[in-house]
């Protein structure tokens, strides 16, 4: 049993002095259930329960209740000292307070042949910091507020089993998976979500799980010029006029799925036969949807730049629309909702059809995968043979990393771990290594 408490002080917060100090405390306990006679069995090595609860506060380094200026050297033209605004005053900011509860169960059975570690956590953050967009009339367009409550909870399970263990042969199987959930109750409410929040899955929508992202509804290519067509309500735009962004986007856009997997984890196998050892590690992820990388970068199609190979299958002549979904690259068209004649009557749905194509439902594919991250074979030379050569260890290892990934074929080379939300990186390439371990 262990408990501790302290006060944290910060002068980063408002001028009300009672906000400057915050008590921080935690309590934790460990309990070996196996020590109890009632639970005690021969096949139980240990059975440990751990519980903790604590409260802590956070603050941000770059925030201050009063303005901070940054002093500059003498200006060569004015011949006077000058200063610049460094930090806008933010007098209403308070501590972000986090209370966390952790519980864990660790046990080992059958002479360590089955070991498990299970952890559960529940973390609640009150007055969570949120960088909020504000009107540029304020001179800056973003500032930090205490927005509301965030709840994180989740669990992780790690399991190690040794199904076979003899003198010559053993098989160790280990797996783990974890899952976290979060829920936000933000005070700024739904109005704060911009178009981009819907497209990248950071908007919270009633009745949809957290992390649901939205896409434009792709209808097909225009048979006459190969430009992409979308169900963007242009023919019934009057119905959208006067709606809030939230109402408008949830109507026009279609939910595409979750950006995070519902379950993901790893399985590792170690097989040993006499002096040979084989390692096989697999990782898997299920339940997410990902966006393919953007087809159009910018709005102008510049032939001298690198373009995605997908353009090989582009629309070239009428009739191609039956066999391809890749538009004619010379198809730029501004969107009706962003035109100057619209005069703010409705939220801007899109700026142009190239953006819409990049963020359309046809660019969304399943993110499920099973990946073989490592296969390795090791041979350990027997001690008695190498001892004569003055060595203490000699081992040869052949390993292959990223050997294969089973994933949606529509990804066409894009790694399923990365989605179109992030920057493009190279796909994982297989890597083979041969190594020799010698110790004297």
């Amino acid at each position: 049993m262990n408990a501790n408490a302290r006060f944290d002080g910060s002068n980063k917060f408002g001028d009300q002095s009672n906000e400057k100090l915050l008590p921080v405390w935690s309590v934790s306990g460990n309990y070996n259930l196996a020590a109890h006679d009632a639970v005690k069995r021969d096949w139980i090595d240990y059975l440990l329960l751990k519980v903790s609860y604590g409260l802590q506060g956070n603050m941000l380094d770059d925030q201050s209740p009063v303005m901070i200026i940054s002093q500059q050297p003498i200006d060569p033209v004015y011949n006077e000292l000058v200063s610049k605004m460094d930090t806008y005053p933010n007098p209403n900011l308070k501590w972000e307070k986090t209370s966390s509860f952790n519980a864990g169960l660790t046990f080992s059975l059958f002479d360590s042949r089955l070991q498990t570690e299970t952890n559960f956590y529940h973390k609640k953050t009150r007055d969570a910091f949120l960088s909020k967009r504000i009107s540029s009339v304020n001179g800056i367009d973003e500032y930090v507020v205490n927005s509301g409550d965030v709840t994180n909870y989740g669990y992780s399970i790690a399991l190690t089993a040794i199904p076979v263990r003899t003198k010559d042969f053993s098989w160790i199987l280990a797996t783990n998976f974890s899952k976290s959930y979060n829920r936000m109750n933000t005070r700024p409410g739904e109005e704060q979500y911009e178009l981009e929040n819907f497209l990248n899955g950071t908007a919270l929508v009633d009745g949809q799980p957290v992390g649901t992202f939205y896409s434009y509804r792709f209808l097909g290519l225009n048979p006459s010029n190969g430009e992409p067509l979308f169900d963007d309500w242009e023919d019934r735009q009057d119905e959208l006029k006067g709606l809030t962004k939230y109402e408008c986007y949830t109507r026009v856009l279609t939910p595409s799925g979750l950006r995070e997997p519902t379950i993901a984890g790893m399985v590792s196998n170690t097989l040993r036969y006499r002096d040979w050892r084989l390692n096989v590690n697999l990782t898997y992820s299920l339940g997410s949807k990902i966006r393919k990388f953007k087809l159009f970068e910018g709005t102008a199609f510049i032939p001298s730049r690198n373009v995605p190979a997908e353009f090989n299958d582009r629309w070239r002549k009428p009739g191609d629309e039956l066999t391809t979904n890749i538009p004619n690259p010379d198809c730029y068209r501004g969107h009706y909702s962003s035109g100057s004649s619209m005069n703010n009557e409705m939220p801007i749905i899109a700026y142009n059809n190239m953006d819409m194509y990049n963020y359309s439902d046809i660019r969304v594919v399943s993110g499920n995968y099973l990946k073989c991250s490592t296969i390795g074979l090791t041979y350990e030379f027997p001690q008695e043979k190498i001892a004569r050569m003055g060595m203490s260890r000699l081992a040869v290892n052949v390993a292959a990393n990223n050997l294969f990934t089973i994933c949606s074929p529509e990804l066409r080379g894009q790694t399923p771990q990365q989605s179109g939300f992030a920057q493009i990186e190279l796909t994982d390439r297989p890597m083979f290594t041969l190594s020799l371990d010698i110790s004297f």
Binding site: F7, G9, S10, N11, S17, K20, L21, V66, M67, I68, I69, S70, Q71, Q72, D75, P76, V77, Y78, N79, E80, L81, V82, S83, K84, M85, D86, Y88, P89, N90, P91, K132, R133, I134, S135, S136, V137, N138, G139, I140, D141, Y143, V145, E194, K245, G298, T299, A300, Y332, G334, S338, S340, S341, N343, N344, P347, I348, Y351
Partner: protein, 519 residues
């Protein structure tokens, strides 16, 4: 016990939490606010080794609303067929949407991409908020003696002047001109005078409300600066406040008040630079100009108004405005270049002389304007005698001595002459676009102008004549700004409309190509 511990902690927390930084500081005295105002309240000057002109905007030089010079009738592009070299950076391309009055000013030449439009809007609102914070904090500063008190008043005065100057600029860029009859119902720009962040959706205050705030601030600035002397031309003093007040009243068509304040300026700083007595090699528009009152922001427009191809030059229309051959401004402002066979902007010195710093091309106050304000306001008010007196005083300093004769016009002809004189005298100092806007709504002798601008595409080809590669014009397209065109007002930046959904846009018509010339 716990109570004792707690009180101990609280008691010591003040010194315990003391922090120290080399360059970051809280505001501890009025000098900090003074430095902040100079560093972040005034329009910054491009600090580089030489002035690089508006076409180098891509290099992040802090040029403020450079398109003000490009939208009016002062410049036109140089279309040159010869093998001379082209401008290194193409301002025509950079400011295409402004220069050709497109519905969306951020649109590119190909019409397929919309660039940044909110740079000036954001910069100006940032300066306004700095002024707001200084105004709010200055009264809390401790004064130990009379000098301190005077300094505190001076800083408040400068901050009020700046807030007025910035709102005046904003409302003239992003709202229709002030028309006395309709100003109360015409959307202006959002007003913010609080020093703290307001998380709300702003709406546009009326043009009349914006001007009312400007006048309030100027009145407070006038009062606060009355006891201070000019620290440098980079800081607004009482003369600058009076000249801006005179200009604001002129824009509001309050002729009497405009005259009153113009007279105050002339009383304080009556001297004009006489072009008849310029020293050999003297450049008119320099930091040493005797009639200079105040300047903020970058100068160096000359390097973007050169005679190079793919660049802007003096428009034939502006050159023709200097119709008196004895006008010495043809020597010191706009001079005919015999080699290039074209007029050249020499008020700041030769276009190729990049190294000299000059007063701001956007925000320079000098005594000539006071005479012009007085002349115009008096003429519009029917006081032709005062108007002619002020006008001729300026002309005596601009026309060759032996050939000078007084202007004897009256009525509408006099007003017209004064407006043209204003154009000749204040060319490329950021006045013309705003002046054209206000003439449009003038109750006395309204005037509006249609302007044509062209855009030429070039191809890079081998020129057998000069044995080298050169740019040859391929095609010229022409656009026209109509009389009383709605595009005399900029659209609200698209980035602003996107977030501030309560702010309405300024309607601007589609801008069709009216003429195409193929070479």
């Amino acid at each position: 016990m716990l109570g004792v511990l707690l009180s101990l902690l609280t008691a010591t927390s003040c010194s315990f939490l003391e922090e120290y930084s080399q360059d970051k500081s809280y505001v501890r005295s009025y000098t900090d606010l003074d430095e902040l105002l100079l560093g972040d309240g005034y329009m910054p000057i491009c600090i580089s080794n030489y002035h690089i002109g508006i076409s180098y905007d891509l290099l992040e030089a802090p040029w403020y609303y450079p398109y003000i010079h490009l939208m009016a009738d002062e410049v036109s592009e140089n279309i040159r067929q010869d093998a001379s070299s082209a401008a290194i950076a193409d301002a025509r391309e950079l400011y295409f949407g402004y220069y050709t009055w497109q519905p969306e000013v951020g649109i590119n030449v190909l019409g397929n991409a919309l660039g940044e439009e909110d740079k000036d809007w954001n910069n100006i609102y940032r300066h306004i908020n700095i002024a707001n914070m200084v105004i709010a904090a200055i009264d809390d500063q401790r004064a130990e003696n009379e000098d301190d008190e005077r300094e505190i008043r001076r800083i408040r005065g400068e901050a009020c002047f700046l807030r007025a100057a910035w709102y005046f600029t904003l409302v003239n860029l992003y709202a229709p001109p002030y028309a006395p009859q309709t100003a109360a119902t015409t959307p202006g720009v959002p007003l913010k005078t609080t020093e703290y962040i307001e998380d709300k959706l702003y709406t546009r205050n009326s043009v009349a409300e914006v001007y009312a705030l400007i006048l309030d601030d100027l009145a407070l600035a006038e009062e606060s600066l009355s006891a201070s002397t000019r620290k440098s031309v980079y800081r607004a003093d009482i003369t600058a406040v009076e000249l801006l007040t005179s200009r604001v009243y002129l824009y509001m068509q309050d002729w009497e008040k405009s005259c009153e304040y113009a007279r105050k300026v002339i009383e304080r700083q009556p001297g004009l630079q006489n072009l008849n007595t310029m020293a050999a090699g003297q450049i008119f528009f320099s930091q040493d100009l005797s009639e200079l009152i105040f300047t903020m922001g970058s100068g160096g427009l000359r390097s973007s108004i050169s005679n190079l191809k793919m660049d802007f030059g003096i428009s034939p229309d502006l050159y023709a405005a200097y119709d008196d051959p004895n006008d010495l401004r043809l020597e010191y402002y706009i001079k005919y270049n015999e080699t290039d066979q074209a007029p050249e902007y020499v008020k700041e010195g030769s276009p190729s002389d990049l190294n000299r710093r000059t007063p701001s091309a956007n925000f320079t106050f000098r005594t000539s304007e006071a005479y012009l304000n007085l002349a115009e306001a008096a003429a519009c008010d029917g006081d032709d005698v005062t108007a002619r007196e002020a006008l001729n005083e300026l002309r005596r300093n601009r026309i060759r001595s032996g050939s000078y004769t007084d202007v004897t016009l009256s009525g509408d002809e006099l007003i017209e002459y004064i407006r043209n004189e204003r154009r000749r005298e204040l060319c490329l100092e950021g006045h013309r676009w705003f002046d054209l806007r206000r003439y449009m709504v003038s109750t006395v002798l309204p005037y509006t102008k249609s302007i044509t601008h062209s855009y030429t595409t070039y191809e890079y080809v081998y020129d057998p004549g000069s044995y080298s590669y050169t740019y040859k014009p391929m095609q010229t397209i022409e656009y026209q700004l109509e009389e009383n065109d709605a595009a005399y007002t900029l659209p609200i930046p698209h980035e602003v409309l996107e977030y501030d959904t309560e702010i309405s846009n300024n309607p601007r018509p589609e801008r069709p190509v009216i003429n195409t010339i193929t070479y």
